[in-house]
């Protein structure tokens, strides 16, 4: 008997999202403790995912590099 084709899953897309994903929650906390960075964070989607204000990604990158991090930039 052949297996029925799986139903298509309903999804909603969120486009053009500026996001910072950290390796762990502690690193996200470290970033949020930085005043300049915290000001650019709109919200925390999860322990490791920070939503960034639209148009402020360059400022976030500069600040991360100033902190000594080497962020991987995806989707330039």
């Amino acid at each position: 008997m052949s297996e029925a084709a799986p139903a298509r899953m309903a999804v909603k897309l969120h486009r053009r999202v500026c996001l910072v994903l950290t390796e762990d929650a502690v690193l996200a906390e470290e970033l949020l403790a930085r005043k300049k960075l915290a000001g650019e964070v709109l919200g925390r989607l999860s322990e490791r995912a920070l939503l960034i204000r639209p148009g402020r990604i360059d400022a976030v990158l500069d600040e991360l590099i100033k902190m000594g991090h080497t962020p991987q930039v995806v989707g330039k």
Binding site: L13, R15, I57, H69, T70
Partner: protein, 704 residues
């Protein structure tokens, strides 16, 4: 990726399409010489076709005046497709032109050159455009395929070669041509490190000028130098920015992306690109260094071009000296003299010419020098500028690097090529330039290299491929550690997040490989933040992160239950709502619900949200301010204590009666408070007196 030829044809197409119909027909007429009228929509392609046809181009060039042909020859000899009109007119004036702007106008009218324009407004004629741009600073361009046909047009320059020369026994001194490419690589790294910019007028900010002047590598004189140049770092920067084919940084002044399909670059090609860049060096002078001539044209591009053309006018083997070259410029250049200092003017600019020849052209490998003062074009220079025989590239030594355990790289110069210099510059920092150059591997530079598209494997492969021995293990470990550090934070500049209706759906999508990474229990991310494959998905909503928040919550009558509209919710809501409400466990319906509780709202207030902030949020999300129940949760802890007491309540039958009792002083004295439209609180001690008063008024009172 478009080739250089395609790029310039596209530019010509855009320029020609920017002409009004009348101007297009006027320009096409001498170029195409059509027997029948050509439909306007075919005109551009017909014209570009003609410009790509060498015999037609040769005939049209031959139709021009000698000075117009000379102007076109400047494009060809300089290998620079774009020139400022002011510089072209200066060179033509030095060549003896008395026609003013006419040669440039003739070339524009003939469609052999085009104006460089930002505006998209149709161009009705060239005069109005010059009026807008300002004649000296207006720029024109020629297709390289056209310019090359005019390259050998006679320019009427005299042969100023000296009768005597160095002794035949003396071997001419010739630089390897790598000095400027190496310096360009170093200046590119400095710029990519950040913070450096030029103004709109291509001027340097003071702080950046100081950085260039004090940079240990860029401020130092070349290893093989005959004269010292001032502000050599500034020259390198302006040169790099002016050479269109040398991209040391991208449009955002960062390291350009790795072009995996790029062919290896020959040294002669790099030198040609630098030769083309000479025409853009405006803010630097070989004697004065950094020098911004505001509102005026610099004499450097035109004087440098004329110097090269004069060297090319000498016969093969003949030597020139600075003094007669300077004397010719002194006599013929219309503006160069006035920019010289008084001392240099006394010797008719000879030190200026000497500095340019020995300081700029010699390290470039375009000229060779003998006896300290005799100069002539090198074989490469003659092949580029005087129709000399093509010079074969020097054989490259593949193994020319030595990676040391302390993460320093020694690069033996004779094995370096522009391609290898470019590769090394992406991941290692230039530390010294000399016969043996040194670079160091640093975390920052490795990071920039990886960000520009390199891989760790590619870096190690380059070092091994060109190394005289394998890369030491500690260095590989170091590179690996730096590369791993980069994996700790990922910044998505414009990702697409996929939100599922339930955590179970997301689990399935991950197990099927549709989603690469879980962000929350219901939201996932595809590889590289790209759009998902829609084959197995049904789209129920599409939200733009940069759009304004929309109303997406309905509040139940209880004032605490929040119903989310799945189609309208956005990511910010996901991040925000958890701060002020508790999620209600799913009850089988598709709508997600949250509930305001005293604890959740207290948590929000402790987290820094005020009632005003909450009102703003509720207005944006529900269309109403915080519901009464919510306000009570928030304000409850801050209001004064409430009073609980037993009171005698008088309930009158109408509002009018209540108003009267409150207003008439006799009855008012018996009433403590008005509790509602028809409810009054009566002073317990005066209840009997009030009853009597009411009876006198004809109002009966019944006690419950």
């Amino acid at each position: 990726m478009p080739t250089d030829v395609e790029t310039w044809i596209d530019r010509a197409r855009i320029a020609f399409d920017g002409y009004s119909e009348t101007l297009r027909r006027a320009v096409a007429s001498p170029l195409l010489k059509p027997r029948n009228p050509i439909p306007i929509d075919e005109l551009t392609e017909r014209m570009l076709g003609a410009l790509g046809n060498p015999p037609v181009v040769d005939r049209r060039i031959a139709d021009q005046t000698p000075m117009a042909r000379a102007a076109l020859a400047i494009f060809g000899q300089s290998r620079r497709p774009t020139w400022k009109v002011g510089h072209l007119l200066t060179i033509l004036a030095a060549l003896g032109s008395t026609e003013g702007f006419a040669p440039i106008q003739a070339l524009l009218d003939a469609g052999l050159i085009f104006p460089v324009r930002e505006s998209t407004e149709p161009l009705n004629g060239f005069q109005p455009w010059f009026g807008t741009e300002g004649l000296p600073n207006a720029e024109v361009f020629a297709l390289p395929s056209v310019a090359v046909r005019a390259k050998d047009e006679p320019l009427g320059l005299p042969n100023v070669a000296t009768a005597d020369g160095p002794p035949n026994s003396e071997t001419p001194r010739l630089a390897d041509g790598l000095e400027w490419p190496l310096r360009l690589a170093a200046v590119g790294q400095l710029v990519a490190e950040g913070g450096m910019r030029t103004t709109q007028a291509r001027a340097l900010f003071k702080r950046d000028l100081q950085r260039l002047q004090t940079h240990e590598l860029l401020a130092a004189a070349p290893a093989d130098h005959l004269v010292n140049l001032p502000d050599i770092g500034g020259l390198t920067l302006f040169w790099a920015l002016g050479a269109e084919k040398i991209a040391i940084v991208d449009a955002e002044w960062k390291l350009p992306e790795v072009d995996k399909n790029a062919a290896p670059k020959l040294l002669s090609e790099e030198i040609v690109a630098l030769l083309a860049g000479l025409g853009a060096i405006e803010a630097w002078d070989p004697l004065l260094g950094y020098r911004l001539v505001e509102g005026q044209l610099s004499a450097v591009p035109s004087a440098a071009m004329l110097l090269l053309l004069m060297l090319a006018a000498a016969k093969p083997g003949e030597w020139c000296e600075s003094e007669p070259l300077a004397a010719w410029l002194w006599e013929h250049h219309p503006g160069w003299q006035s920019g010289l200092t008084f001392e240099v003017q006394q010797v008719r600019g000879t030190p200026w010419v000497e500095s340019f020849l020995l300081g700029v052209f010699y390290p470039l490998g375009l000229v060779e020098v003998a006896g300290g003062r005799f100069v002539r074009l090198s074989a490469l220079g003659r092949s580029l500028l005087a129709n000399g025989a093509k010079v074969p590239e020097a054989p490259a030594f593949l193994q020319t690097l030595m990676v040391q355990p302390n993460a320093e790289i020694i690069a033996y110069r004779q094995g370096l090529t522009p391609t290898l210099i470019g590769k090394l510059s992406r991941f290692a920092r230039w530390k010294s330039l000399g016969p043996a150059c040194t670079l160091e591997l640093t975390a920052e530079q490795t990071y920039r290299g990886l960000e520009s598209g390199l891989t760790l494997g590619g870096v190690v492969q380059t070092l091994n491929q060109h190394g005289v021995r394998p890369v030491p293990a500690p260095v590989i470990d170091l590179l690996q550690r730096w590369a791993n550090k980069r994996e700790r934070i990922a910044v998505y500049t414009s990702a697409t997040l996929v939100e599922f209706l339930s955590p179970a759906d997301l689990d399935i999508a991950i197990s099927r490989g549709m989603i690469a990474q879980r962000i929350t229990d219901r939201i996932g991310l595809c590889a590289d933040g790209a759009d998902p494959d829609y084959k197995n998905l049904r789209l129920i909503g599409n939200r733009d992160y940069e759009a304004k928040p929309t109303k997406c919550i309905a509040v139940d009558e209880d004032g605490v239950t929040l119903n989310l509209d799945a189609g309208q919710t956005d990511l910010l809501l996901e991040a925000e709502i958890g701060r002020l409400a508790e999620a209600v466990p799913a009850d089988g319906t598709s709508a997600r619900r949250f509930r305001l509780t005293p604890e959740s709202l207290r948590r929000a207030v402790q987290g820094g949200m005020k009632l005003d902030d909450l009102d703003t949020w509720f207005l944006a999300r529900t269309g109403e301010p915080v519901p009464g129940a919510g306000r009570m949760f928030i304000l409850g802890p801050s209001v004064p204590p409430s009073l609980a007491s037993k009171r005698l309540i008088l309930q009158v039958p109408s509002v009018e009666i209540a108003d009267g009792l409150i207003q008439w002083p006799t009855t008012k004295a018996c009433i403590e408070d008005r509790l509602g439209p028809t409810a009054l609180a009566v002073d317990d001690a005066k209840q009997e007196a009030l009853r009597e008063l009411l009876e006198t008024l004809g109002i009966k009172v019944e006690f419950a």
